[in-house]
């Protein structure tokens, strides 16, 4: 990473969300890398950027189409790469042509000079990397936003070489592993489709049961069914959807409606309030296991102290399953990993003895395979190995500001706290330096609303309202207000909207319309 010539940071604030990754980006910048930042907020990186694309929330696709159009108009594209590694370029060219600078300026609010300079810096760099975050995916067009980023990288051939490519910063410690290991409705562990009879058969043989060939419901769909009275029982492991899901009231209604709810967690949360049975969880310091990080590196987690509740989650699942008539028994999590290695090819070479010193990056198919650091060096993971351009159109956010709700609420994280805050709020010192939620509001908006720094204000959306103190700061641009979701006494997600990406089901956390009133 320190060798990057141009870094394009899009919808990501690593100084707050991924502080250690930000250190490598800072090193690259100190080594002379040019920096483009696409973010509606004036973040640490935006302040230091060569070009800050201060786009309106929800205008990612218009922004990226506009940049690609500038690149093509100037002949800055990588023609050799497009010819040898991609398909569908003409369709893309025709689509982005509709995004001339006048239109893109109007849709994004970003001045044309900045757009042209960003296009030049990214396309003309020898090695340019795009790092993106939840500002891309947490929109109703999240998947398309990510595709638009891929279009840009492919047009410029900035992929498949060291210090190039696209890096998505994953949010949670084991969000990668949790997807890899199969708690997904359409895929068995290792992204192996439930619809594929041969793959299903492999698991049926190993597990000794018949597996349904129809995909199940996504979490958000299970909750929707609960509200309709159509869903009867849920086991929630270490998650707090009543606090962290968008449109939290809607979620709370669903959890109240389900017949039988089991929640396992370290602490009482918004979600445990709705439980029929609460099971105590064990923290990462109390159990053996592995986490897989955002670069697919499988690393050990080690038991350092006795589990507070007496046993860890893996033991609890085994006991419940056994009591339900499907016996599960393992002496140690390493035996579970051995079973995984036998069924999941990308984890095929993983065993605890190999992880003792350092982690291994999947795909690691065999015991003597060293793991894989860079993907797609010569072929993309599609039939034929060519990448396909996706012509995309600007749609905007599901909810846009209007007379009644004139501001855009952007939600996100700060460095000091983590998600629902149940852990960081209970860590001495952290609770002291950031004891409460502060909503960031632009000085001009604050003046118009007669709000001073530290004043209470009421923030309301079509779904709910809350009281919060103001932090007057130019980190928020005029018209935008920023809040985190770390505090249980300020449930930001009762404001966020129910719009979701139709493919991933990811809610539009990054943009909804709110009204702000001074409370003095």
């Amino acid at each position: 990473m320190p060798d990057i010539d141009t870094l394009f940071l899009f919808g990501s604030n690593p100084n707050e969300g991924h502080p250690i990754i930000s250190l490598y980006l800072k090193e690259a910048i100190a080594n002379g890398a040019r920096l483009i930042v696409g973010d509606p907020r004036k973040t640490w990186m935006a302040k230091r950027a060569d070009v800050w694309l201060n786009l309106k929330p929800g205008s990612n696709i218009a922004m990226l189409n506009g940049i690609i159009n500038v690149i093509l108009e100037n002949g800055w594209e990588n023609k050799a790469f497009i010819a040898s590694r991609t398909e569908g370029f003409d369709e893309l060219r025709a689509k982005v042509k509709e995004y001339d600078l006048d239109r893109v300026e109007r849709l994004t609010g970003v001045g044309r000079d900045r757009i042209i300079e960003a296009a030049r810096l990214y396309s003309q760099a020898d090695k340019a990397m795009i790092v993106y975050g939840l500002g891309v995916t947490e929109h109703r067009t999240g998947t398309e936003n990510a595709m638009a980023i891929a279009n840009l990288a492919l047009v410029c051939g900035q992929i498949g070489r060291p210090a190039t490519g696209i890096m998505a910063l994953r949010g949670q410690n084991n969000v990668q592993g949790a997807s890899d290991l199969g708690p997904l409705p359409a895929t068995l562990p290792g992204y192996q489709s439930v619809a594929d009879a041969a793959l299903r058969g492999k698991f049926e043989k190993a597990w000794g049961v018949k597996i349904q060939d129809k995909p199940g419901l996504k979490s958000v769909e299970m909750l929707d069914e609960c509200r309709r009275g159509n869903f009867k029982g849920i086991f929630i492991l270490g998650e707090d959807p009543a606090h962290t899901d968008a449109d939290a009231k809607h979620v709370q209604e669903a959890l109240a409606a389900v017949d039988f709810l089991v929640v396992q967690d370290l602490f009482h949360t918004e979600t445990t309030r709705f439980a029929d049975v609460i099971l105590p969880g064990a923290s990462f310091a109390e159990k053996d296991g592995t986490f897989t990080n955002g670069e697919r590196r499988i690393q050990r987690v080690r038991r350092a102290v006795t589990p507070v509740p007496g046993m860890a989650e893996w033991e609890v699942i085994c006991r419940i399953s056994t009591l339900m008539g499907y016996p599960m028994a393992y002496n140690h999590p390493s035996e579970i990993m051995d079973e995984i290695a036998g069924l999941v090819p990308i984890y095929g070479g993983i065993s605890y003895d190999r992880l003792e010193e350092k982690g291994i990056q999947w795909p690691c198919p065999t015991k003597d395979h060293p793991g894989t650091t860079t993907l797609y060096t010569d072929l993309f993971s599609r039939p034929g190995g060519l990448a396909t351009f996706m012509p995309l159109d600007h749609q905007g956010s599901g909810e846009v500001p209007d007379e009644q709700y004139p501001y855009v609420l952007i939600t996100g994280r700060i460095r000091e706290h983590y998600n629902n805050g149940s852990m960081t709020r209970r860590s001495a010192g952290i609770a002291e330096v950031v004891p409460e939620e502060l909503a960031e509001i632009n000085p001009a908006d604050a003046a118009a609303l007669q709000i001073n720094d530290g004043d209470w204000m009421r923030v309301s959306s079509r779904r709910g309202e809350l009281k919060v103190r103001a932090k007057v700061s130019d980190r928020s641009q005029a018209g935008n207000v920023f809040m985190t979701f770390h505090h249980q006494d300020t449930l930001t997600n009762i404001l966020t909207s129910g719009f979701r990406d139709p493919i991933t089901g990811t809610p539009e956390y990054k943009s909804c319309a709110v009204r702000i009133e001074a409370l003095g």
């Binding site: 250690i20 910063l169 105590p280 897989t292 050990r300 000091e416 002291e432 330096v433």
Partner: protein, 353 residues
């Protein structure tokens, strides 16, 4: 990068790569060289002069941390002259250092203590003026004892070079030089990220973690290497455990992802583990509240209720939410449980929300 060439270290030929310093080549070859101001996370500094080596044809010893290796160099890392010079350097440092290892937080984890012991440095060789500055605890995380500072600059360099926070720098001149915040203002979020990187870089007891003070020193703890539970970066660190309690987090300088760097959450976000609010026993809803139950009772109830719902409404009416916070093994088991004991595909994790 040029092609591999060799230098001779203590009579043995060793390969090196262009751009490597003599210190890097020596340490790579397993030849120990004492340092105090060096930190792999930082640029070479050449401040402490303990890493001096003799190079054939060069009249005076050179700092190995700032001298690039050149093909054909003949390097000597141990000699009576080097030992004498290193001992003198240490004795000069000790001339302005409190002699309180017996109650110092860093004892057992102090570069100065280790090297003073190794070289048999005397505390009283250079008697003279000593700093008499008060201990500073102006924030919840970082204790500063300026009297123990040897002005190696590791704290200020990691703050500016690596974190780029600009919280502290070396202030004053001459004998008065010390690391400090601007205008000696207390550390707060206005001027500090509280990542504790400066503490991890400090080779003495000048900067220590406030929360762990008095709870156990290096020799009292078991260090358990693990992976952070917060964001998806995958930083490794050591949980320092004493009497079945985590009392501190320390850097793992060999960690492949973070190389010993940590943020406020990784280094200081551990108290939740032993927090009194932890749920300790299963709880079963009763009326408007919950009553405590044994694991046997709770799990029997859970299993029988799920089983009854599956029997009455079918497996497709039951499901599980797995967790990005749990281990791979637990996520696998959750996926397996829904597909076997329950019999549906209604399993998802919080990656999408």
């Amino acid at each position: 990068m040029t092609s591999p060439a060799t230098i001779v270290i203590n009579g043995k030929e060793v390969q090196f790569t262009g751009g490597q310093t003599i210190l890097e080549v020596c340490r790579g070859a397993g030849v120990p060289i004492p340092t105090l101001c060096h930190d792999n996370r930082l640029k070479p500094y050449g401040g402490c002069r303990l890493c001096i080596v003799e190079i054939k044809g060069v009249p005076r010893p050179l700092a190995s941390c700032t001298t690039p290796a050149e093909a054909g160099m003949e390097v000597t890392t141990e000699s009576p002259r080097l030992t004498r010079l290193r001992k003198t350097v240490l004795e000069l440092l000790l001339s302005n250092h409190p002699n309180d290892c017996m109650c110092c937080e860093a004892a057992g984890n102090c570069g100065l203590q280790t090297l003073a012991y190794r070289f048999g440095a005397r505390l009283d060789r250079f008697p003279g003026e000593q700093w008499q500055l008060p201990i500073r605890q102006d924030n919840p995380f970082i204790t500063y004892e300026p009297n123990k500072c040897i002005v190696c600059g590791r704290c200020t360099r990691i703050c500016n070079e690596v974190v780029m926070a600009g919280t502290i720098s070396l202030v004053n001149r001459g004998f008065e030089v010390m690391p400090d915040t601007a205008f000696a203002k207390p550390r707060s979020l206005d001027n500090c990220e509280f990542c504790g990187q400066c503490v991890s870089a400090c080779p003495t007891g000048a900067l220590t973690d406030t929360k762990g003070r008095g709870l156990g020193r290096a020799g009292d703890v078991t260090k358990v290497k693990t992976t952070c539970t917060y964001c998806g970066t995958g930083c490794n660190f050591f949980l320092n455990v004493r009497n079945d309690r985590v009392i501190r987090v320390t850097s793992d300088l060999n960690a492949p992802v973070n190389h010993g760097n940590l943020c406020i959450k990784g280094r200081y976000g551990y108290d939740f583990i032993h927090h009194p609010d932890r749920i300790r026993t299963p709880l079963i809803k009763e009326g408007d509240g919950f009553r405590e139950a044994s694991w046997d009772e709770a799990l029997t109830l859970v299993a029988s209720r799920f089983k009854a719902l599956i029997d009455e409404f079918g497996p497709e009416k039951v499901g599980g939410f797995s967790s990005s916070r749990c281990t791979n093994e637990e996520n696998y088991l959750m996926s397996k449980w829904v597909r076997t004991a329950v019999g549906s595909n209604n399993v998802d994790n919080c990656a999408r929300v």
